[in-house]
């Protein structure tokens, strides 16, 4: 008989670029030293996805788009993860990953279409292995796991990445997906964007765990907490996890600690449940500020460079908005056309009913 400690666990933390814009190069392997070109491209991507986000909010406010979930404050996660992924990898997003989807190759127009209530916004281009967003929270996690399982079965040398928020970790599907991934040692990387708020409920009401990262331990694989406002830390953690997955060494959970600077969606008013002081505190930790500080200090990034970048981004978005607003209306009959590979007589009959109604109203 005895009473003893069976296991001890620890959870690690990673931050490579701090709020002062300093990089700890000892945390980067020899092959992972960040060049001027890479750092500038990360910054450019951040500026792009923030501007896409701001334009979406603007389109919504002016009645040209529907309810929209902003990614403001979470750009470092999305730029870092996108840079670490290969085109052959697959990506399963929750609904707050607009930036990652765009950086993977989905057009800005498609993103605006989705949030304006047009199903064509969920049509991911054929050459991009991404799923459309999952509106039910966390239920896409088992899909990522199933795809990883299929990739392993087919011996495809790829990895699967899925993103979700802190709220999703309270859902059963998070548990079921993580459990499967651990048991079958699947090539999947779970990226939790812990932005500390699930609409009005703080992360302290989602879990009593000190970190979300530590939940991985219970499923038999590694979890790590990364400064989610540090694009370099996210990049390194995701890259290592993807390589591990592709090697056949199984899944990883990466908790990216960040903050939702915006309301939950345009239908929400976050001032009802959180303080202005808290938001101001996190605004100082804005992921873009520290990277900008770094490139200004080290690579003579000037105001002219900045305005040239902004101009280019604004132009690209203006073109996308134009394309979005000039898109031909979606035929209402389309609601039938891809429900099944072939439609039953009853569905064809109902389709004809709608067609007749449309003809009568014109």
């Amino acid at each position: 008989m005895s009473r003893k400690t069976l296991k001890n666990f620890s959870v690690s933390w990673l931050q490579v670029l701090n709020e002062a814009g300093e990089i700890d190069t000892t945390l980067c392997s020899e092959t992972q030293q960040f060049t001027e070109k890479t750092l500038k491209s990360f910054y450019e991507s951040m500026v792009l996805i923030r501007a896409i986000d701001e334009k979406a909010l603007n389109l919504q406010r002016t009645g040209r788009m529907g309810t929209y979930a902003s990614i403001r404050g979470q750009e470092a996660i999305q730029v870092g993860a996108a840079a670490a992924l290969r085109p052959s990898d697959w990506f399963f997003p929750a609904f707050r990953a607009t930036g990652l989807s765009v950086l993977r190759g989905t057009s800005i127009k498609t993103i605006y279409q989705y949030w304006s209530g047009d199903e064509r916004g969920s049509v991911v281009p054929e050459d991009i292995n991404d799923f459309p967003v999952s509106i039910p929270v966390g239920t896409h996690i088992p899909h990522a796991v199933g795809a990883a399982w299929a990739a392993k079965y087919k011996k495809d040398p790829i990895a699967i990445l899925t993103t979700f928020g802190d709220g999703a970790t309270s859902k059963g599907d998070f548990h079921e997906g993580m459990n499967f991934a651990g048991i079958f040692k699947l090539p999947v990387v779970f990226v939790c964007q812990n932005n500390q708020w699930a609409i009005s409920v703080p992360v302290s009401r989602q879990t009593a765990s000190a970190t979300i990262a530590q939940k991985a331990i219970a499923y038999g694989f590694e979890g790590i907490q990364v400064d989610g406002n540090d694009v370099l830390g996210v990049y390194i953690a995701v890259k290592e996890a993807l390589e591990k997955a592709r090697r056949g060494d199984g899944p990883t959970l990466i908790e990216c600690l960040t903050y939702r600077l915006s309301d939950h969606t345009t239908a929400d008013d976050a001032s009802r449940y959180r303080t202005a002081e808290e938001v101001a505190f996190w605004q100082k930790k804005d992921p873009m500020l520290r990277l900008k500080t770094h490139i200004e200090q080290h690579f003579a990034w000037t105001k002219a460079d900045e305005s040239a970048l902004r101009e280019e981004v604004d132009h690209r978005i203006a073109e996308a908005v134009k394309a979005f607003e000039n898109t031909e209306a979606l035929s209402p009959l389309e609601m039938f056309d891809t429900l099944f590979e072939s439609l039953s007589p009853e569905l064809l009959r109902q389709r004809a009913v709608l067609e007749k109604r449309l003809n009568e109203s014109t």
Binding site: W90, F92, E119, R120, S122, V123, V124, E126, F131, P132, S134, I135, P136, T139, H140, I141, P142, H143, A144, V145, G146, A147, A148, W149, A150, A151, Y153, K154, G172, D173, E176, G177, N179, F180, I183, F184, E334, M335, D337, T338, L339, F340, E341, S344, P345, E346, L347
Partner: protein, 325 residues
Amino acid sequence: MSKLSLIQAVNQALDHEMTQRPEMILLGEDIGKDGGVFRATDGLVEKFGEARVVDTPLSESGIVGAAIGMAAYGLRPVAEIQFMGFLYGAMEQLVSHAARLRARTRGRYTCPLVVRTPYGGGIHAPELHSESTEAFFIHTPGLKVVVPSTPAEAKGLLLSAIRDPDPVIFLEPAKIYRAIKEEVPDEEYLIPLGEARVVAEGSDVSLITWGAMLHPTLEAAAQMTAKGVQAEVIDLRTLSPLDTETLIQSVTKTGRAVIVHEAARTCGLGGEIAALLCERALLSLEAPILRVTGFDTPVPLPKNEKYYFPDCKEIVKAIETVVQF
């Protein structure tokens, strides 16, 4: 040809299709060494290996959710859920994802998967092991729902379900897994989804049913023949999409309909069929459409379950009522 039970026919269909399709995977609880709690997958792990016949954790949403990811990736997953009463854990995966994937991505992704599960009562099992809640799934656009009624039907329908490019809920009548044996062709044959089967032709009344209830319905039809009433018996086979034409044609001919299902009455498929016949065959009707169904209560535990399910006697009464109306 061999004389097989329904469960053996299911096993033969799975075996056949696993041999044909390297991209097909079976997943579920206890389906490996144990061969499934009803033995539907008996011997398959030995033949196809653990990578293709996968014992999963006890995790219904995980099973169906993972199957969706597999299907989208290009595999052909066939999942087993031990009892229909445990399928509810995967409801969100089926309704919010599997059913919608093709439509919401306008065909960019598809979801060719089969979820097999035993349904219905009559096996004296514990609570929640006798569910017949097919209406949940029939009501969900984007899913197909198939129910075989005999061993030979089970094989041909399951082969079609596996080959179908869209998600199929395949409900196996647990009550008759072993109760009847019939000749089942050894070679492959496909029974198209969406087509009902006229089991017996008749001119006086249409008896519309599916799955395990086909058998008491046939018994009732035979009793009525002795009384000079020619009943037409229709086995729906596919509950969604419904073969509306066969139903309308039959009732146009007979003028009378009795619908038999073991599911609860309210919002059961019988109500939908009655509405359809009223909308599209009203002038042919010579009597009210009657339903012989389970009650709007939970299925009782085994000691009282026999009072819940329709039986031959109740079906005969309903036929007599519409014929004499």
